[in-house]
Symmetry: C2
Amino acid sequence: MTQPGPLNGILVVDMTRILAGPYCTLMMAELGARVIKIETPGVGDDARHYGPFLGKKSAYFMSINRGKESIALDLKKDSDRAVLDKLLAKADVVVENFRGGTMERLGYGWGALNKKYPRLIYVAASGFGHSGPEAERPAYDMVVQGLGGIMSITGEPGRPPVRIGMSIGDIGAGLYAAIGVNAALYHRAKTGLAIKVDIGMFDCQLALLENAILRYFVTGQAPGPLGARHPSIVPFEAYRAADGYLIVAAGNDALFVKACAALGLSGMAKDSRFLTNDLRNQNVDAIKTEFERVLAAKPVAHWQGVMDDAGVPAGPINDVGQAIESAQARARNMVVTADDPVAGPVKLVGNPIKLSSFADPPTRAPAPGLDADRAKILKELGLD
Amino acid sequence: MTQPGPLNGILVVDMTRILAGPYCTLMMAELGARVIKIETPGVGDDARHYGPFLGKKSAYFMSINRGKESIALDLKKDSDRAVLDKLLAKADVVVENFRGGTMERLGYGWGALNKKYPRLIYVAASGFGHSGPEAERPAYDMVVQGLGGIMSITGEPGRPPVRIGMSIGDIGAGLYAAIGVNAALYHRAKTGLAIKVDIGMFDCQLALLENAILRYFVTGQAPGPLGARHPSIVPFEAYRAADGYLIVAAGNDALFVKACAALGLSGMAKDSRFLTNDLRNQNVDAIKTEFERVLAAKPVAHWQGVMDDAGVPAGPINDVGQAIESAQARARNMVVTADDPVAGPVKLVGNPIKLSSFADPPTRAPAPGLDADRAKILKELGLD
């Protein structure tokens, strides 16, 4: 039932919901772990109620929770707490993404768990991490995108702010959590000791911004948004062609000369305003004007061929359909199918971590119905 | 010299440059691995020549390569290949981010290395991964951002495309690579067997887009950009106040009622156009108009207090200076210092993976000068 992978044999008790925590346990399931979701009776993971829907089932939930199992437990009931305790005693890892302080109030904080189950690795993905003045403040993807600074450097100068089109606040935290838990599993394999991995969504936003924060440290000025332009390399931008935009990434002098020649603008390559990357940064608008004057005459596909022939890195701006339907995405098994008992066959995005020695099958186990694995799990625990 | 962490004792031979691969090995160094960069003699990692600069040293390079060591090797010279061979024989992991096929041409492909060094884990972070029609095509962050679809869902409808303000193409790949290598280390600790981790930047973009691709699969329509609005939750957007924007994330009916009351708009909560999230999606512009009419009267800080008091998740759009200078960032040790022998003390972004049992000191070892560790490394290898 579990995916073939390096985490085969690992049991994860998954007390997460919505996206940041579930994305971490999705990565673990994709790497071969057995993941058991602990859900609220009746309601379940909030993401079960988020669109888009297929039939009556949330495709969003199915995508993030494929290959996991589900048991509904009411942690106010002693009998259900006893089930959780038995599960934790067997588990290798517990993952939760409550706001800071919640697990302690439930009686399942790291201190208590580590005393009872010294081999149990504990992973928390909260809004702000388990320390500092904001430790108990709840967070939501978009609030964290705003607080962490990424929105301030994305978009057009002088225009209203834009959100990153995917949930970078949640998924960023899920990725760093997945790095942490795998490192903790390695450490435990070597030493026998479990550790706590404490991830704050806000911290992760800062870590993702590396270059922009450095600019602030070095210059004292916070950078702003630059549209579709790179902050320090020219030409490295989306330029308008007849039917859309072409990204040209000519990151050094030699590539600039090639790009000019390809566009029939060889004179530009010798122009004293454009001789170095530093000069090109000073005259970035003049380059854009010249490039777009030529590019306007033909469609993106034409110019893509011209740039490929010239050896200049370039590409179109695909919509997500074009991206996922591409020959490369198919060849890399980036579209997989789960056969859902309610919704039927569902197409999902594959796992980008490709590992030798382990198959990457074209199908995945579906996401569980709420409490669907109760009987099997209770039987395994000797509680049936 | 290495950072305290779960990867203490692990030796990484780092054949990467610029960002995607170096970000993976940065995470490994932060988790305690010893990382030795193999650089081109004379030039070194291209990132050494990228701004911003502090003195004559690239702050960008320092940030991504802190705590690593450097040796310059010319892989066309037998004597230098012998050094690399001795290093690989001692190493646990080799990481590279050349374009597909390059390592094979150098004689260091996975097949050859796995035969000679069966315990050596091999991590490749290339543009498109090591299979499929694009396997040998080079890639650059911005080209991958365009190809992978993220740019098509970020920005304002009807406006020119925008780049994600950080290098999500490179850093995304670095994060998935870091998950893969840690899982591979765990697997080797259990089985003694090394595996190859094959990461494509393009695949990673698809994996990050989960929700948008699902929408495409379910509806057959590729979603477009939505400015600062969430695709399916209302209100979940940046609204204009007197002096800037406030993000209000009132993700359910109860929070909507609270948000309306907080803004003195209690009538809205009973308006038949806004009773459910589905209805609010149909009337999203009317909500924006009403909210912004009220918000225009006072500054963001005022409304932040009002929303906090009402228990409605909300936040400002910080610039990166405000984000990194925040009390929470300081409390979480998200600003660390490296004492560079050339540039002096340099502020860098800290590690968001906080682990119990391991110190997270306020300082880091600086980034190496090109070839700075040659003598020490040769001595260790018995080649001095």
